[in-house]
Assembly symmetry: C2
Homo-oligomer: 326 residues x 2
């Protein structure tokens, strides 16, 4: 069976790291069909909208989507694309690699972020000249769904520490509901977990990341805590992510379009290639996923390095080294 | 003129570190009148409410309040107390001290956190069996007020880097309004600043804290980012804070009641004593404030240390060393 993969490079370094990931996938010879889609600042300039309907449909209908990055229009592109694949879970591993300078080398975390609601529900109003409101939406159904996904993910991937992040001492009813849903799911599945206030967790993750494994979070907490973890492992150039829906999924690096280095051919392709590895895993190619991850790990340890990691190699050099290591 | 200081130790180590701070203040002989108030878990157990009206009134009427910590009832105590002193600004310095093991020794940050609204407005509803909402409130007036305070604070304290944290790419109208207010105030006062998405900022603060100075934040972002900074400098035992209102103010350590070590006499009093120094500054005793800060700094550098900093000294040992160093 041929898998149809939507490929949306987007802006800036997206156009450099996505082709690198495709090269790696093609080397595995799995018979994927890649179909290109357009989105991002450059599309907005040309056509007045950052995410054309055809690109939305492409992602919605593909078996999986690889997305690079978008610039100023990032939110206009990625939020609808996440919706296009009906992705309720955003999975963000943050792992320190041997040989890469990390603030905390013992970091090996996976954030499982609720991906559909919270402050991302998009309900805002200017009530008066002075007052603006945003409605933070938390549902029991979405909270249960992310909890089920998170506990199962932890079990399937051998993590023994599961933490539920929240701020239920202030957001009593909304995060209270989130917490209750996690508690109910844990009870039904006989899962163990700890809960942590997200502010205290931010501190503890920095001081003792080795004490944590999978962190299940409401949407915005997951956004912040996963970027925090990027800081612990040496930056966004290393963090892949998966947006998982019931029938399809979208894979993207956590980094953005990096306009400061775009066009120079020196972007670190690791996060994008690791995102492709997450796609392989998701599609049932676990062996190949491990092969790709091992190759990237080997190159990070003693292969060529892009400038973000203190080297002077190009995107092409690193990609070639990964292909050699496969 | 005698200053009337409300003293609310609260729960756990609050009852150990607050007396330490009072000892230091008494040694300065400024003729303060200290009036005790009760709040916290133990009060809730005895009387059914964590914050009796008389304690609320005491804080509201005092010239300044010293608060220790509360346990399970923390939110029920501190949020109303902040309101009692009408505190619109929460000032949280996070500084690494020579001799104290810090993840990032170059950290010298001050978070200026909006203290009255955002998700802390307390407006939540269970709409259906499935749906719960929270209304995040952002007003132009409160945003302007915190921006004015933040820019003036940075100028008065010699910080050249000011950053406004936000998530206006997602919370477009609410954080959009916050950002616009900051921009307007900066324009009127000819202040310079950068803006940063709070997720990206979390990462950058960990990797390069030396690039930042004062960070002006909406309420929850300030809560998280200041705890993150605590992680960078070696934990909550070192972070003081001020809740500033137009006529009075409340000073508290960022740490909580630490039930795990409460009653052992080994709590680090530094954050509480440094909070008292912030009070001295606020009341116009700048020389004495500097004296206290210098004494604490000297003790942190080569005096006795409590267990949280790897030593085996008691709260009393550290307090005595600070008194000697005054
Ligand atoms: C671009 C933005 C909307 C997005 C988010 O907040 O989810 C980004 O920060 C991320 O984490 O992927
Ligand atoms: C106890 C809690 C309500 C409080 C807050 O969220 O403000 C605490 O985390 C703090 O930062 O002082």
């Amino acid at each position: 069976m041929t898998h149809r993969i939507a490929v949306i490079p987007g802006d800036g370094i997206g156009g450099e790291v996505v082709p690198a990931a495709i090269e790696v996938l093609e080397a595995l010879d799995l018979g994927f069909e890649f179909v290109d889609g357009e989105a991002g600042d450059y599309v907005k300039e040309e056509r007045g909208e950052a995410l054309p309907q055809e690109t939305y449909d492409l992602a919605a209908e593909a078996d999986a989507t690889l997305f690079g990055a978008a610039g100023e229009t990032a939110a206009d592109v990625i939020l609808p694309l996440r919706e296009a694949v009906d992705s309720f879970a955003n999975v963000r591993p943050a792992r320190a690699y041997p040989g890469v300078d990390a603030v905390k080398p013992a970091t090996d975390l996976v954030f499982v972020r609720e991906n559909t609601e919270g402050v991302y529900a998009g309900i805002e109003d200017d009530l008066t000249d002075d007052v603006t409101t945003l409605t933070r939406l938390i549902t029991e159904s979405a909270s249960r769904r992310i909890a089920e996904f998170g506990f199962e993910y932890a079990e399937a991937n051998g993590f023994s520490d599961v933490t539920v992040a929240h701020k239920a001492n202030v957001m009593r009813k909304t995060d209270g509901r989130f917490l209750e849903a996690c508690e109910a799911v844990a009870g039904e599945g006989d899962y163990e977990y700890d809960e942590a206030l997200m502010d205290a967790l931010a501190m503890h993750l920095i001081m003792h990341p080795e004490d944590y494994g999978v962190v299940i979070c409401p949407n915005l907490a997951g956004d912040m805590l996963s970027d925090l973890a990027a800081g612990l492992v040496g930056g966004l150039g290393l963090l892949p992510s998966a947006n998982i829906g019931p029938d399809n999924a979208l894979f993207e690096p956590v980094h953005g379009s990096a306009p400061d280095i775009a066009g120079e051919g020196i972007a670190n392709p690791a996060a994008m290639i690791l995102s492709a590895a997450m796609m392989l895993d998701h599609m049932g190619y676990g062996g190949e996923a491990t092969q790709v991850r091992d190759a990237v790990t080997a190159v990070l340890e003693d292969g060529p390095r892009t400038p973000d990691l203190g080297g002077d190699a190009s995107t092409a050099d690193v990609t070639e080294a990964v292909l050699d290591a496969l």
